[in-house]
Amino acid sequence: MSQRVDPNLMKELESYGVKKKDWNACFHCGNCTAVCPLTEQGSMFPRKGIRSMQMGLKDKLAAGVEPWLCYYCGDCSDTCPRDANPGEMMMALRRWLTSVYDWTGLSGKLYRSKPLHLAVVSFLFFAVLAVFFIFAKIPLLSDPANVQLNSFAPVHVIELADHIMLAVLSFFLLSNMLNMFIKVVIKDKSVKIPIHLYFKEVWLAIWNFFTQWSFRKCEGKLYWFAHLFLMLSYMAMFSLIVLFLGWFQTDTIHPITHPQRWIGYIITAGLIFGSLYFMIGRARKKDRKFKFSHHSDWIWLFLLFMIAITGILIHIFRINGMAHLTYYTYALHLAFEVPMVVTFVAFSKWSHLVYRPLAIFFANLKKSTLALQKNR
């Protein structure tokens, strides 16, 4: 059955960051696909994606994983003869896909509206501060020399809150992932993936997740390193906070050789280095991939950076016995952390952490299935 061409999709995509002067400029020369170091036989991008975008082939786009395979090195945009910026279009397509996987529709709303996203973030920010303001044990604050963080914010309470948040967001994220699985794999009638392949390919997916190995094919090793370092630091921070908060948040000050301290330093360094690298890049706008920034990019980086900064400040104030500053910063730290987790993990940029490896996983599955069929 033939699909109807629908130019209106493009108008929708414009709110996800596709520039009008870009999407309609493409005259289909095929340069971007051929210049891309990651494109492979069978999974070719970005041109075909752009074509589907122009023609409004929604279903085809929703079922595609190609945008996730792109790490945005910018080669395609640099060499595009019509200055159509295919790299940026892939970026926007990833945002759109995130909203497509999200069945709640919240993701699309956050992406499409900068004021809404800012409002939600601000609301959560002040709400967290308010909670602290209401429940904080005021007497504790009267002794500025004695830092008792676990009394100010008892670790089991925070941990409980963490776990609740984890459960809720995991539900959303997992359901979105399932949604993605249905759209990409189940609905694709052309390939029937044998079960055993899932087990075979999952290891490769995990390897890819932790090393972002395919990313290394792109030009610019620093970019790969910054991205990987930021991602790993983030993952480490995430597991510390959610799984080992009791070990991490202590009132005892461990010696510098204690893993709690140096692990914390490395994570903080990764977060600060990574977020600064991307923020400076985006501010300078010199590098092709940083030329255009969506509001979600900025909010994400800003929150990440603030989390890292407040985190290290808490530590500095705490070991220096500055109780008040420690508590205030701690409150701020959580006030930055909560909106970041709530708005980004399931509904925005953070989710690419799972969608991308998943996409690579699915792509590999399909490829191996086809190879199997061919051998038979």
Binding site: M1, S2, Q3, R4, V5, P7, M10, K20, K21, N24, A25, C26, F27, H28, K48, R51, S52, Q54, M55, L57, K60, R82
Partner: protein
Amino acid sequence: MEEARIGIYVCWCGSNIAKMVDVEAVAEEMGKLPNVVVAKNYKYMCSDPGQDLIVSDIKEHKLNRVVVAACSPRMHEMTFRKALENAGINPYLFEMANIREHVSWVHTDRDKATKKSKSLITAAINRVLYHDPLDKRSVDIDPATLVLGGGIAGLAAALEIAGSGKQVYLIERSGALGGYAAEIDLLAPYMNSAAQVLDPLIEQVQNHKNIEIFLESKVTDISGYVGNFDAKIEKKGKEVEKKIGNIVVATGLKNFDPAVIDRYGYGKLPNVVTAMEFEKMLKIGKVETKTGKLPKNVAIIHCVGSRNPDYHEYCSRICCMNALKFANQARSILPEANIFDLYTDMRAFAKGCEELYTQTSRKDVLFLKFEKGDLPTVKKAAAGDDCDMVIDMHEALSGEDIEVPADMVILMTGTEAHDDAKDVAHLVGVSMCGNDFFIEKHPKLDPVATTTDGVYIVGNCVSPKDIPDSVSQAKAAAARILASISQGSVEVEVTTAEVNEDICCGCQTCIKVCPYTAIGYDEEKNVSIVNEALCKGCGTCGSACPTGAIRSKHFTDVQILSQIEGLMSLEV
């Protein structure tokens, strides 16, 4: 005939010839041949002293034939002919033997090279014995010019010629000047107004004292040859005769009729329109469907009737740019509509056109590619659909089968030769290619002249082209005509063919082989007659003539046969 007195001159060309050919021995031996009065060798025959040597020998020794053995005749034949002329004898009583390019530069054995030179010179001597004096001939050119067609090309040619003060007769089959350009509103790629430029042009033509316009007229007969044509012009039943020197054919094109292509539904679906029909809509600012609604979806289909072996294999050259123009204007008049452009290859090649393509695509025009043999189909939309028609197509750049919604479909119809092309070709004596377009004398280096001298073809009757290219061609023809008019006469080929009427049997074989239609037939005498104004001297007729009645001047049978004898008089 007076006795032949031949002078032989062997050139050294510095050491170029002398190194490989014993020029002194050659000259000496040649001097012994009958009829040879003088045989000399000299360092540089082409130099002034070398030429002076020939001139003074002609005078002193009363030479009446000259042979120079030197370089290629392509290099210096003209030089020596001039020298002969200066000495007072006919320049055609001269022959050159090429002993540089064909001997000294290509051979390595001095003896053999010397021998070869001798045989080449002997051949030249044999040949020159039979040379006839030939006179330069020219025909007078009537300063008036006939321009067939009052379209943009015809107007440009007429103005260019009349601007120099010469008479032009402009013939137009319809009732108005301007041709297709007059029906066009804006011109791609710069979107300037056609009327604003064309109207003053027409006004200039109409008011020009040197241009006589014949509207609703046609030429019924043309006779004569370059410089001296007689044209019979029929204007509303009345016939006028005009004497003219040159003819510009600018009879233009016709638009392809898309009704013959079923799949586009032209004539059946009310909102499928041709390019010209859409042009009219734009001109009056009324881009509406037949029911008076503003179309929400406009689709433009390229290559209608062009690049298609079923209709015309050629590309019509102008439709792509016209389509881009339409897309632009449709966008401007319908800011909210979806505009689709269904193309095969976007041929935006002229100055400013690729830029227009870029600009157009940036105005949200969606370009969809179909493959040459895989055309889209227009059909009525199902009841309840929010569009009037849908176009089914295989989109080549995505590989998808898609349907395109449309409320208005514009067919970019190609161009084809005008209905009267055959009549015109017959009238003026030009040939046509398979597509009924006229054939130029040389597709590269002589794109406006034809094999008939004095007849020029310009604009769309030669092949589809846009306005600047048509105008360039019209002016190119004007240049040719102006040059000949201002000379007052044109030189015609001297070495033409001639018929010996006593031997001609009237078989007319020669007429069939002549590529220039230069040979006619005299019904009364039953012989062929060469029109020397048209003959180019290729000699094909001479070799086809079964009785030997045709002589190719300067390449006569006896000249060549005796040249062969001369060549073979020495062994290798």
